[in-house]
Amino acid sequence: MGGYGDVQMIDENGKRADGRTAEEIRPVEINAGIIPVADGSAEVIWGGNHVIAAVYGPMEAHPRKIQKQDRAVLDVRYNMAPFSTTDRIRPGFNRRSREISKVTAEAFDSVVMTELYPRSKIRIEIEVITAEAGTRCAGITAASVALADAGIPMTDLVISVASGKINGVVVCDLNKEEDNYGEADLPMGVCANSGDLVFLQMDGDLSPEEFQIAWDYNMGAIAPVHELMIDALKRSNGGAE
């Protein structure tokens, strides 16, 4: 620890190195229906992150032992492509990917109406094409759009965003440079309409006051991203306004 006390991540006007204010998220672009062979798909370009998601199903779940008698199984795979980071990532599942896949599946289990498709499986494939801090959040957001695009019944769209702390200052949606000096990370997955949380992780060190600010920043970022999701789904599905 230490060593970043002299790094000025926020200037005297409250602007960050990339010109954002503390509560501002990076530029976000969302497109749906980008994988022609998938039942539903989406891409989220969030700052320097580029994440794609495909949904297949619901379909017969194989092998039989993974079937749930009363609902569909959400089979989520989060993966980082080998060329997504500066140092090449060796292909294959690792513990980090496995954990993110698990919590992502559990987030969607709360909104997808899995009870309509007992014994079946819905595949959610998340691939990080380019990573720049915050890929799990971008992945959940992309998967949300892909699920809706696939016509999967769900009670809400989930949007995920993280806030953190650099040099004692709480900021929303850390970029790569900021993340390198990050002292805390609070990613949340929030249902756009109900405001319920379905995904929550945290690591680092936040005082009660800092925690509240980080929480509020995350909540404040939900609505604008939700608008982009709706817009993406309407564009690819020809909704007339």
């Binding site: 062979v37 998938a38 492509a81 094409i129």
Partner: protein
């Protein structure tokens, strides 16, 4: 849209179409889909390309690492290809360790490039016996509607041709373009309805038979061949597709080199 799993009916229909020299999507026997090549699409890779052929979409990314040269070739760098066809790219691609088909894809693409000698391995040497560049080519499928082989091979060459060796980041000299002296290209043929067609879509692959992949370098030198799946072919059939491959590889080469 998922492809309906109708092998018997599909095969019969493909046979019917073949009798009238037609294809499922109206293309001529040796007509390829439109190929779109975009380079510089992956900011974290030192060279990259995205290739779209109909509903087939793939990425290729080139990364560099520093390796210790093999003792028997102390002045040579390395080249490695890895193909990933993850379940994102189609309902028929399963999760888990790379399937034999994905491994075959990577190896066939690798051989065509390696054997053409388009990358000068000696040029990758930094310090003889101690340090050399290893070129790692990752080809990655996004959407599989057939003929991943050609899509991968095309994306691979486009990515290599635009790669920059990151000397500065590794503190071993200046950044410089990776010299790629030749442009080997691959053409793939599938037996569909009894005869060979070029650039099969997924449904033709499902309802078809064996396949042949030909990689030709500049001056039509043959660098790699692969016959896959169950089936046999005659010398006359091979000559016919080889003839077509010579023309088509040249066209694809022009596409990449521009």
């Amino acid at each position: 849209m998922a492809t309906p799993p109708v092998p018997e009916l599909l095969r019969a229909h493909l046979n019917q179409l073949a009798l009238e020299d037609q294809r499922l999507d109206g293309r001529a026997r040796f007509e390829g889909r439109n190929v779109v090549v975009e380079t510089g699409v992956l900011p974290r890779a030192e060279g990259s390309a995205r290739v779209t052929m109909g509903d087939t979409i793939v990425l290729a990314g080139v990364k560099f690492q520093i390796m210790t040269p093999y003792p028997d070739r102390p002045t040579s760098g390395g080249f490695m290809t890895s193909a990933e066809v993850r379940p994102v790219s189609g309902v028929h691609w399963e999760a888990g360790p790379p399937s034999p088909e994905a491994i075959e894809l990577g190896r066939v693409v690798d051989r065509g490039i390696r054997e053409s000698g388009c990358i000068d391995m000696e040029d990758l040497c930094i310090l003889p016996g101690e340090k050399a560049w290893q070129v790692i080519l990752d080809v990655f499928a996004i959407s599989d509607d057939g003929n991943l082989f050609d899509a991968f091979a095309t994306a691979a060459m486009a990515a290599l041709r635009t790669s920059i060796i990151p000397g500065e980041r590794f503190d071993v000299g200046e950044d410089r373009p990776l010299p790629v002296s030749k442009t080997p290209m691959m053409c793939s043929y599938h037996r569909v309805g009894g005869r060979y067609v070029y650039d099969a879509v997924r449904r033709e692959e499902i309802g078809g038979g064996e396949r042949i992949h030909i990689t030709l370098g500049d001056d039509n030198h043959v660098h790699s061949l692969q016959k896959g799946l169950k089936g046999a072919f005659t010398a006359a059939e091979f000559n016919e597709i080889m003839e077509h491959a010579r023309t088509r590889c040249a066209e694809l080469r022009d596409l990449i080199n521009n």
